[in-house]
């Protein structure tokens, strides 16, 4: 089953609101503002994955209009993340902050953005190509989306921990690897079913199913790619 994201999103909105109020109070400190931008950036990455889950939930339920709405929200979250990423990069360079770990942090911020990019592309491809999801594959697709999102979420938790609680990074990274492995298995199962089942008559439709299974799974793959990078940065950052 897909994770229920409504509650999570409401909490995120609240945090965002508090964050915005907070920014006004603490703007006296440039570094504090940068900290908040990084936090906000990671929230957008997180949101893009969660919103993709919401969008696909609607798609699988056949509600095209709601899918388009959620898809537009994924776009918006990705755009905001991009904007913040540019701000953060500019600020770190222009204010000569964290000279020692600048390369690692900027690399981390850049690659984390790939997760939002993938979320946006998956939503967009579903919107353009409108693949026909066969009922016998629906559950697998839902499970794949759910698992890939979990990998992305654990990644953002790991990145947050990298900035604040270094010793907790590894436990999140372990979970990223776990969910990515699960996603791989589901993807494999889904592809086998698509190619072995007599229910799909045309070869092109089998390939279409394979393509979308791979696209969704790419979210977890990207998360794992960043996780690999993060594990090296952790060693370098530990005193």
């Amino acid at each position: 089953m897909l994770i229920n994201t409504g509650e999570v999103m409401a909490k995120k909105e609240e945090t965002k609101k508090n964050g915005r109020d907070g920014i006004g109070r603490v703007f006296r400190s440039r570094t504090k503002a940068l900290e908040m931008e990084i936090d906000q950036y990671l929230s957008y990455i997180d949101q893009s994955a969660l919103l993709l889950g919401e969008a696909l939930k609607q798609y699988f339920a056949g509600d095209t209009q709601r899918f388009e709405e959620k898809s537009a929200e994924v776009d918006e979250a990705e755009r905001k993340a991009d904007e913040l990423r540019r701000n953060i990069t500019h600020r770190i360079y222009s204010e000569m902050l964290i000279p020692d770990s600048r390369g690692d942090v900027l690399g981390l911020i850049e690659t984390t953005d790939n997760v939002a990019d993938v979320a946006k592309k998956v939503a967009s491809h579903f919107g353009i190509e409108k693949p026909e999801i066969y009922p016998f594959l629906k559950e697998d697709f839902e499970e794949l989306v759910d698992t890939s999102i979990k990998a992305a979420q654990e990644l953002t938790l790991a990145v947050r921990a990298f900035f604040r609680e270094l010793y907790r990074v590894s436990e999140h990274l372990d979970k990223v690897h776990f969910w990515e492995h699960q996603a791989d298995q589901i993807e494999d199962r889904l592809k086998r079913k698509a190619f072995e089942s007599p229910e799909i008559k045309e070869f092109s439709k089998r390939v279409h199913m394979r393509y979308f299974a791979e696209r969704i799974s790419l979210l977890a793959d990207e998360a794992e790619g960043v996780a690999e990078r993060l594990s090296i940065s952790v060693i370098k950052r530990s005193i």
């Binding site: 570094t31 902050l97 964290i98 020692d100 942090v105 900035f163 604040r164 005193i239």
Partner: protein, 349 residues
């Protein structure tokens, strides 16, 4: 003061310049090399605090060095200081581990041998013991500090950006402490041999007496400041990027622990306080800053589980204990002979 006196002081000034160019660079090397601290800030802090340390607390270690052999004629002081400087320069060029402290001790012993004054065995033992205890103390302090800092950082859960800000400030404070301790402890190496034959007289200004020795230490401090301004940037960049790869936080631990070692062997106030409560005090003698720093780095290596411990560093320290004073004493003896018999200068009274 006569012109001759000034000329004889030049070797001391050169030692001071070298102290500023090299030893001060060790303090801020990582901070400047990793661009956590700007060179200009580091240079100003170094110059000011080295001079303050030298003038306020420089006397203790100089007295300890004086006990080894009181070089009592200015041409003798000039020669001893020059030989120590030459030993440091030559051994550095040859890629051998060297310490100014051990060079000056060797050069003084050379003077004792030449002049026939007995070397105070007790003073020599006291000084040589600190060569061993200095790095060990540095390793112990940094070992303990490493765990303390790690514990505090884990407890505070600071954001990386916030940590960066605090680390910069901590590096500046530790750097100031390091520069003060360097001036207090190692300025004895620079001007210690001139104390007995000081060409300066006490000055009274606005009711304050500025002793000849303090003037000597201030001039040493200014020479060190000049060394910082003219040459230390190059050394800082080398220390920061090549020699010891330390993170800014571990650099703080190393700087603080090195400074603490130098301070312990220089502070008369601390020695008095320890004696007043019946504790054994640290002898006030110059110790090698670079060896205290290497000790501190080894301490961190041990705290990290001893995996990346470079045993060559330990070997270098031990080699420095033997090679430097031997070379310096030999050169000093020969140079004093030449000074006396070729240049017809009185090198001892």
């Amino acid at each position: 003061m006569e012109l001759g006196g000034l000329i004889f002081l030049t070797s001391g000034l050169y030692m001071g310049w070298s102290l500023g160019a090299n030893d001060a660079a060790n303090i801020f090397g990582t901070a400047v090399g990793t661009r956590m601290v700007q060179f200009r800030t580091a240079a100003i802090i170094s110059a000011v605090f080295i001079t303050l340390g030298a003038v306020i607390s420089g006397g203790g270690a100089a007295h300890g060095l004086g006990a080894l052999g009181a070089v009592n004629a200015l041409p003798g002081s000039f020669t001893v200081s020059l030989c120590a400087a030459f030993t440091v320069m030559w051994m550095t060029k040859a890629g051998l581990p060297v310490s100014t402290t051990q060079a000056i001790v060797g050069a003084i012993v050379g003077w004792n041998l030449f002049s026939g004054y007995p070397t105070d065995q007790e003073a020599l033992t006291r000084i040589m013991t600190t060569w061993v205890t200095g790095p060990i103390l540095g390793a112990s302090i940094s070992f303990l500090m490493y765990f303390a800092v790690r514990f505090i950082l884990n407890k505070l859960s600071l954001h990386l950006i916030q940590l960066d800000r605090y680390t910069r400030n901590a590096l500046l404070l530790a750097g100031a402490f390091g520069a003060y301790s360097l001036g207090a402890n190692n300025m004895a190496n620079v001007v210690g041999v001139f104390v007995e034959a000081s060409p300066f007289r006490d000055l009274s200004l606005f009711g304050f007496t500025f002793t000849g020795t303090q003037q000597l230490f201030m001039i040493g401090g200014l020479a060190a400041g000049l060394g910082v301004a003219t040459y230390s940037k190059r050394v800082m960049m080398t220390v920061g990027s090549n020699l010891f790869k330390l993170s800014p936080v571990t650099a703080f631990v190393v700087i603080f622990s090195t400074a603490a070692v130098l301070f312990l062997f220089a502070s008369e106030g601390l020695a008095d306080a320890m004696q007043s409560v019946g504790l054994p005090s640290f002898p006030l003698v110059p110790v090698s800053q670079s060896q205290a720093a290497v000790g501190s780095i080894i301490g961190i290596g041990l705290a990290k589980g001893g995996r990346n411990l470079n045993l060559k560093l330990l070997g270098n320290i031990v080699l420095g204990w033997v090679a430097t004073p031997t070379v310096a004493a030999t050169i000093s003896y020969m140079a004093l002979f030449i000074m006396q018999n070729v240049f017809m200068q009185q090198v001892y009274m």
